[in-house]
């Protein structure tokens, strides 16, 4: 199977993963699409360097999150910008009002976190174990646990306020 075909299959298979990573580091549809494109480019650029030492998704998480770090922009509010949560609601063609409201709140809370905390919460929401999170982020297992409980407290306080 040619390399291009393997790569496109991989991206098609995991486009949801990439969509989610790019959505948490951006706050509007346009930025999210730009970052998505950049992540796909970086994955292609480094595709040959993947050595099967870890799961392909672990590698994809790492490349996508590392790309997002260098893509961070100052928050500019444009009146015509579509918030990323609304873009997802449109993408998933949802008709569930409760889910839509929760999703908007979720992104509002995520937006308030710093880059590191965003990454940790994202991996936690993805159902990753502390060990996997440590593997992707390069933090120690216990450090991950401490940080996550601190972030949970912060989120709880923020949620109580809103």
């Amino acid at each position: 199977m040619p390399k291009e075909a393997v790569f496109t299959d991989l991206i098609r298979e995991h486009q949801g993963l990439l969509f989610k990573v790019t959505s948490i580091y951006t706050n509007n549809k346009q930025d999210q699409e730009d970052l998505f494109q950049e992540v796909v480019y970086q994955l292609w650029k480094y595709f040959d360097s993947f050595r099967n030492e870890s799961k392909i998704t672990t590698w994809m998480y790492r490349v996508a999150m590392n790309t997002a770090i260098t893509h961070l922009k100052r928050k500019k509010r444009r009146p015509d910008a579509i918030p990323v949560a609304d873009a997802i609601i449109k993408e998933t063609e949802s008709k569930d009002d409760l889910y839509e409201e929760r999703l908007r709140q979720l992104y509002r809370h995520l937006e308030q976190l710093n880059t590191l905390d965003k990454g940790l919460v994202f991996l936690l929401l993805e159902g990753k174990s502390y060990k996997e999170i440590a593997q992707i982020t390069g933090l120690g297992d216990s450090n991950v646990g401490t940080r996550i409980s601190r972030i949970k407290k912060k989120l709880k306080t923020n949620m109580a306020k809103s």
């Binding site: 486009q15 796909v40 260098t70 998933t92 929760r102």
Partner: protein, 199 residues
């Protein structure tokens, strides 16, 4: 709203996104090629163009250095040439360091640390650039005046309206410099806090 509700919204979103397979092979391959836009590519292009202009002016100053016939004009000349060569080189090297991050290998933490450090280096240089740029007016203008119109501004008397105009210009430039400096400080402060937390 509870954390569990956030988790459930995320899970529902994940399930629904899983069912969406909108990307075609063509779209994916296009993303790997010509449509790629990198913001650092744009910044580097502008900075390289800026550096080129600075180097050209520096070369002109060096070529006409003999026309600077007093010791104070020569000091201004040396300062101007140094400013026009050193700062652009430092900015371009800071940009090179940001671009050198190995996205495929380093962990999230390592890349975040390297990125914040490289970005702060760039911001620090831009901050210095604003400050030195303000002072630069005092040593670049006399050199320009001497080289372009053969006038030594240190020996020319200024008329009242020229003094007023110069004072207004200096006032506006000072306000701009303080504003820009504060902006850079604000930008680096939160990054510094995150860096401290990581190390």
């Amino acid at each position: 709203m509870e954390l569990e509700e956030l988790q459930s919204a995320w899970s529902q979103m994940s399930t629904e996104l899983e069912q969406q397979k909108k990307l075609t092979n063509d779209i994916i391959m296009k993303m790997t090629q010509e449509k790629y836009r990198n913001k650092f590519k744009t910044v580097t292009t502008y900075e390289t163009m800026g550096a080129f202009v600075c180097f050209c002016i520096a070369i002109l100053f060096l070529a006409k250095f003999g026309e600077l016939n007093t010791w104070y004009l020569q000091v201004c000349g040396v300062l101007s040439v140094s400013y026009l060569i050193i700062l652009p080189i430092m900015v371009l090297s800071a940009l090179k360091k940001i671009k050198a991050l190995d996205i495929s290998k380093g962990s999230y933490k390592d890349n975040l640390i390297s990125y914040i450090k490289a970005k702060n280096r760039l911001l620090r240089l831009q901050r210095i650039g604003v400050g030195v740029g303000f002072l630069g007016m005092f040593f670049i203008l006399p050199v320009c005046s001497k080289i372009i119109s053969n006038k030594n501004v240190f020996e020319l008397g200024l008329k009242t309206e020229q003094v007023v105009l110069l004072s207004i210009t200096l006032g506006i430039t000072s306000i701009f410099c303080v504003w820009a400096y504060k902006g850079y400080l604000k930008l680096t402060r939160s990054a510094q806090e995150l860096l401290k937390d990581l190390e």
